[in-house]
């Protein structure tokens, strides 16, 4: 039962990964063909406890129930909004899932709640092959984004921004003193104590996206942030006292 690739090796579609293995396949980035396992996308091989997988480097966001996403209001109807979540499927957000009070379409216009062009932090509550994703903005912390900045990255590289056991995102928050909310659809919301620190956080996230397939990334990003802070002569410790 041979395995032909190493952990973290870069593979392309059609690369033979393993033969006759009783591996569990859980993502569409790998497939079985006459008892052999192949990769179906460009990505990094990940072999761990009885699983063989390819972590994709490219690709669009496919919604999953429970995912936190950042949507962009694209259009509205009488009682709903159409939300762009950087996915092949347009999401729907109903007024009932945005307000905690009754809504009367005769007296009110949904446009006055969220208008076209607004960013909304929301959660996917329903999605399957036959229906478009349905969002909710009713849970705590969800709703319209009124301040801060949004960065967009390739959705398949979001796990790198979070890191193993959220190590990367914790480090980012600590080093830049920013509040960072990661939408799994590749939009990241940053609120910082100063524009310069927001800027540095954005640069760091872009760097993570660019170097997503390399190792030792967390340390490299930490050094990068410290260097940038020093270069701009910012006093981060004073900010900590203020907030």
């Amino acid at each position: 039962m041979p395995i032909y690739v190493q952990n973290r090796e870069l593979v392309t579609p059609g690369t033979l990964l393993a033969e006759n293995e009783k591996f569990k396949l859980e993502s569409p980035t790998v497939f079985k063909y006459s008892n052999k396992i192949y990769a179906s996308t460009i990505g990094l091989v990940d072999i761990s406890n009885g699983r063989i997988n390819v972590i994709p480097l490219e690709g669009k966001y496919i919604p999953k129930v429970g995912d936190l996403v950042i949507g962009l209001i694209e259009d509205y109807g009488i009682t709903y909004w159409i939300v762009d979540i950087k996915s092949p499927y347009k999401a729907i957000l109903n007024v009932a899932e945005a307000l905690n009070r009754p809504f009367n379409p005769l007296k009110e216009n949904v446009k006055n709640i969220y208008d076209i062009g607004d960013y909304v932090l929301a959660r996917v509550i329903a999605f399957d092959r036959t229906k478009d994703p349905i969002l909710t903005a009713k849970q705590k912390g969800l709703g319209k984004i009124t301040k801060g900045r949004i960065v967009e990255i390739i959705p398949s590289r979001v796990p790198r921004v979070i890191g193993r056991k959220a190590s990367m995102i914790t480090m980012l928050k600590n080093e830049t003193k920013c509040q960072i909310t990661v939408g799994l659809n590749g939009r990241i919301w940053i609120i910082g104590p100063s524009p310069e620190l927001e800027e540095i956080a954005i640069l760091a996230i872009k760097k993570i996206e660019y170097e997503a397939h390399t190792s030792g990334l967390t340390d490299r990003i930490r050094n990068f942030i410290r260097k940038e802070i020093e270069k701009r002569g910012l006093k981060v410790n004073e900010i900590r006292r203020k907030t």
Binding site: L10, T12, G14, Y38, P56, P88, R129, Y210, H213, S215
Partner: protein
Amino acid sequence: MRLGEKPKLIDENGRRIDGRLPDELRPIRMEVGVLKNADGSAYVEYGNTKVIVAVYGPREIHPKHLTLPDRAIIRCRYHMTSFSTTERKSPAPTRREIELSKVIREALEGVIFTELYPRTSIDIFIEVLQADGGTRTAGITAASLALADAGIPMKDLVAGVAVGKVDGVLVLDINEVEDEYSEVDLPVAMMPSFKEITLLQMNGVLTEDEFWEALKLAEKGIMKIYEVQRETLMSRYSKVRAEVEE
């Protein structure tokens, strides 16, 4: 040689009109991620044949009525720019281009896992910048690279090459002049890892033995092209790796 007269395609040393041996490919160059707006893109050169491909998708389908409930649709457009040939080609799609769009789509449909993205479309735009024979096979090679660059799950890459019979000799990767005066033109596209043929067309007459020999020759060329495809896809990432990890 007078104008319009058939040139000598194979010389005394068995070399072809551009100096290649019968089983030699033209110099190949490939690049991925050449277009920023597209989800995936690629540029491929087979000698003087130059092709650029953009892939969009999976994305929403317009017009909506084309939607399939169980899988993605694939739309493909093969087009030759008006400046791709010596004489200006009208930019309107010709009968030939419409047909090639269809065969190229069919050559790629078999490798893409369309059932993963129901109700969406994957759009492939192949633009021939310079035509010197073998544009459909270069188009397929580039399109499969662009699809991989877009992160669309597929069974394998697809690589294509044309085999011809000129002056009685089977030759690999024929160019425009060879194609014009050839006895046979045989474009082939394959999934190299599985040795499955996804496109096979033939113009002319071959004996059965010649046909199998031609197919073997095409396979040999395709395996070489496949290697370049894989290297091209990986080089983008390995370059960044080398840059930062040293």
